[in-house]
Amino acid sequence: MTLPHAEVFEIAALSLRVALLATAVACTLGIPVGLWLGTTAFRGRRAFLLALNTLLAVPTVVVGLAIYLLLSRHGPLGGLGLMFTWRAIVVAEVVLAFPIAAALSAAAVQAADPRIHRTALTLGAGPVRAACAVAREARFALGAAVVVAFGRVLSEVGAAMIVGGNIRHQTRTLTTAVALATSQGNFALAIALGLVLLALALTVNALILMLQGRGDV
């Protein structure tokens, strides 16, 4: 079995759309949480970090199952009608990528020079501006958090399969297509799709690297 070029493009485009959207949402939510955890001392911070680090190790099929139960017709969010749509995959991927963005951002700012935060505070900055100052100085490590989150989302197959259903022309992503081709014994197609996936990852990571380098004085 081969796939028409148009269908490969369609699958690759959906994978990219899901991965970029899920990474953007997860990082928009996760990085501020990480900055807060990394720069603010409060009771329970260590427990919070421990929980985040534990979530990093949760199997993707477990997250897929949890989202399935939430979004299925009889689930609490069943009314949204998201089940077996690409949006359901985005929701699952956000849940998977959020702990990565938050935990790695917290680690990045904790590893940053402690003088950055003190300097910002003593120059009159509030907590948000001071956290932003730390983020700016630690942007390479934060960029790494974005790259890891994107990699996790782009390469994920278990949750996408469970909540998306791998429906042709609707929810088939590169990873679910590779899984299907492999199960059908079509290794040539599986390898070809895998190479497309790698090319996508390379392109996006190169773009992130370029963005990190800009503005460096």
Binding site: R115, T119, A120, T122, L123, G124, V217
Partner: protein, 331 residues
């Protein structure tokens, strides 16, 4: 400006600072002196409201600063320049304008004020340079300019001349004095360079093991006391010093500068300790003169200007520094 009452600070259960009472006026020039680990930097961080004291209160203009919100508000009036200051990524001018940006000052106004602060410290030529391309001394000057640009009510400096040569030290203190002449500002400097502190400050706070000390922390030496009697002898470099104590083991010796007698010949007196040496520095302090004598170790003696003139003491001249055993304080 600042009033401290029964302030205590501990790190990991270890007491590092204990100040029962301290008042710093709005126009003060306070030098905080003491050996490493005496609590100078901790006191500055507390005065900068970067951390809360473990116990006691710090009041700013009569109002106790207790909550995180109050500390945050207080930090817009007080700023600290650390011993190894951090400059943000960007140009020198962006750095100096940073605190103004944090206060919502419009960019053009912030730029003008930043340039003014830079020129106070004679560093305006560095404005366009990258902050990462500066020498250690320049970093310190830029950090002080950045603090001055915010027009603080109190400027706190931790070892501000540590990496600077003589000329740079002079420029730094001159710039701070000029800023202080423009508007009232309390300036507190933690320094181990006592000569500078004495020359510049109008008040000295000596810290020893976290607490204010009545002894000026000059002529301080870490020693191992042999024990075994009230009259003991310890060696400070080539100098054997007799002192009176019952203690044994590690201790700090302090020889108060006003207990040291200078003479051009060895004295026949009750002073058991006498060190021959040469004068390496002479500095005015108010009506008195601080004379540093190098005889293998450096000892600072405080004498009157008249004594200096009558004995004909000058830098490079040979001199004896004598002090009694009972003048040596043991901590």
């Amino acid at each position: 400006m600042f009033e401290l009452a029964l302030v205590r600070q501990t790190y990991g259960g270890r007491p590092v600072l204990a100040v029962d009472a301290l008042r710093i006026e709005r126009d003060a020039r306070l030098a905080i002196v003491g050996p490493n680990g005496s609590g100078k930097s901790t006191l500055l961080r507390l005065l900068a409201f970067l951390e809360a004291p473990g116990a006691g209160t710090i009041a700013l203009d009569g109002r106790p600063v207790r909550t995180a919100r109050e500390r945050r508000r207080a930090r817009t009036r007080v700023t600290l320049v650390e011993q190894r200051p951090f400059l943000f990524r960007g140009t020198v001018l962006e750095n100096v304008a940073w605190g103004l940006g944090a206060r919502g000052v419009p960019a053009a106004q912030a730029r003008a004020r930043a340039l003014e602060a830079l020129s106070l410290l004679g560093s305006d030529r560095l404005a366009g340079r990258s902050a990462r391309a500066l020498s250690e001394g320049e970093v310190q000057r830029i950090a002080v300019a950045r603090a001055l640009a915010t027009e603080p009510d109190a400027l706190l400096l931790d070892e501000p001349v540590a990496g600077a040569d003589r000329a740079a030290q002079h420029a730094l203190y001159a710039g701070i004095a000029a800023a202080q002449a423009r508007r009232p500002m309390a300036v507190c400097v933690a320094s181990h360079l006592l000569e500078d502190a004495y020359r510049w400050a109008d008040r000295i706070l000596a810290l020893h093991e976290g607490a204010p000390s009545t002894v000026t922390p000059e002529n301080l030496f870490r020693v191992e006391l042999p024990g075994g009697g009230p009259l003991q002898t310890v060696h400070l470099g080539p100098l054997a010093v007799d002192l009176v104590t019952d203690r044994a083991g590690p201790a700090t010796l302090a020889i108060p500068p006003d207990e040291i007698v200078l003479s051009t010949e060895r004295l026949h007196s009750s002073a058991r300790n006498a060190m021959p040496g040469r004068i390496v520095r002479v500095a005015e302090q108010g009506g008195a003169v601080r004379v540093t004598v190098d005889g293998g170790i450096e000892l600072v003696a405080l004498i009157t200007r008249r004594s200096l003139d009558e004995l004909g003491l000058t830098v490079g001249g040979a001199v004896y520094a004598s002090f009694k055993s009972v003048a040596v304080r043991v901590f």
